[in-house]
């Protein structure tokens, strides 16, 4: 450290310690001590055993000198405020407080708007920073690395059909990650034409008049299910891209992430109940008509379109 800086530092500290005194008295003291240091430096200029450091050391610490001045004047010595424990705890408290506020804020943002990016013009919905990406323009739903679109031609063909007896009134289709198209079948047969990663036939179970076509365990890429007219259908999917053509019976779709496209039959009346928690949805009319086909679509993250 430069000797002048050292001296200034010493004098500054001394001034701080003397702050109980009026400024004019402090100035007098500081000037005298400065004068002493300068005189001592001149006096010891040729003495290598003395330098600024030893001169300052001989004076004593600014605290000690100040205490003597104040004691001699009968002024109580008060410790100057230093970065003591309370400053440290204040700093910790402040950081913790703002940390908490930031955390709470981020949590609130996460809770109330789970990072949904909607591009209405291009019919695009991106969720969770693009982890789920619904792209209307190219007819594609991307979930992670998994891409579902009409162009998928890969995989093995899984084809099947099942006669629906008259006592079957309802159909349940659970699926995980796929492009799933629903169409209307001719007759009483339910058929499925799928492309899957492996040759696994879906499980078909009928319990109490409800048929379950379980697509959940299939490594599906794409699947078209044709459903006989008038069968109440319930679809439960995690990630998907669904195209539904002319729903002929009551339909209940619940999809966590993805896109649902609905093409209505103009000759029919529909009563829609469409809900998208995060994303986009077209306008779907409601109806109180008794003949209206009930279509309920519930999507958490994604898009529901009407064609």
């Amino acid at each position: 450290m430069n000797k002048d800086i050292k001296i200034e530092h010493y004098l500054l500290q001394l001034d701080r310690e003397l702050r109980a005194l009026p400024v004019s008295q402090r100035a007098e003291i500081i000037t005298e001590i400065k004068s002493h240091i300068t005189d001592s430096e001149a006096k010891y200029a040729d003495d290598p055993t003395h330098n600024t450091n030893t001169i300052l050391r001989d004076l004593g610490t600014p605290q000690a000198v100040a205490q003597r001045y104040l004691a001699a004047k009968g002024v109580a010595y008060s410790r100057p405020r230093r970065s003591g424990a309370w400053v440290k705890w204040l700093a910790i408290g402040t950081v913790a407080f703002f940390g908490f506020v930031l955390f709470a804020g981020m949590s609130a943002i996460w809770y109330f708007s789970p990072l949904v990016k909607v591009d209405n013009e291009n019919g695009r919905v991106a969720l969770l920073g693009g982890l789920i990406d619904v792209n209307e323009k190219i007819g594609q739903v991307k979930i992670g690395d998994f891409v579902m679109n009409d162009a998928v031609k890969d995989g093995v063909v899984v084809h099947g059909e099942e006669e629906m007896s008259v006592n079957v009134r309802a159909l349940k289709i659970p699926f995980n990650t796929a492009k799933l198209d629903l169409a209307v079948a001719v007759g009483r047969k339910i058929t499925w034409d799928c492309r899957a990663a492996s040759q696994v036939n879906p499980e078909v179970v009928v319990v109490a008049g409800v048929m379950t076509l379980n697509l959940d365990k299939l490594n599906l890429a794409k699947c078209t299910v044709s459903i006989p007219l008038g069968i109440a259908t319930e679809v439960r999917g995690v990630n998907g891209h669904m195209d539904i053509e002319s729903p002929g019976g009551p339909l209940d779709i619940a999809l966590d992430n993805g896109k649902v496209n609905i093409k209505t039959d103009p000759s029919k009346v529909y009563d829609f109940e469409v809900k998208v928690k995060n994303g986009l949805q077209d306008f779907f009319p409601r109806s109180v008509s008794k003949e209206a086909v009930k279509v309920k679509v519930s999507v958490i993250n994604g898009l529901v379109k009407k064609e």
Partner: protein, 118 residues
Amino acid sequence: MQVELDNWRVQVKKGYLEMCLLLILRKHKRMYGLELLEKLETLQLALKEGTLYPLLNRMTDDGLLKPTWETANVKGHPRKFYALTLKGVQSLNEMEDEFLKMTELVSKLQVDGHRGKK
């Protein structure tokens, strides 16, 4: 023993030093801090600079000393010279009387005591 002796020395020195400073200043008319320190050193009355300046400050407050800042005849920086005030002169006279009494008493007690008899 050393601690007690030091403590005693500090107590005795307090008033004694003040009187010595006044005596020096009476003799030399006016002196500044470092000069006083050097003088005290030659008299083997070694005093820390960090103690001298507060003492001079207090004696000034008490009206015993009259400081004068001098910038002429000194190289570049001001010096604070101390001289006795009238009150300082009077106080010193009283101190001398008092001190004389004390030394006489001490001498008397020493003669009465063990060490004096030796």
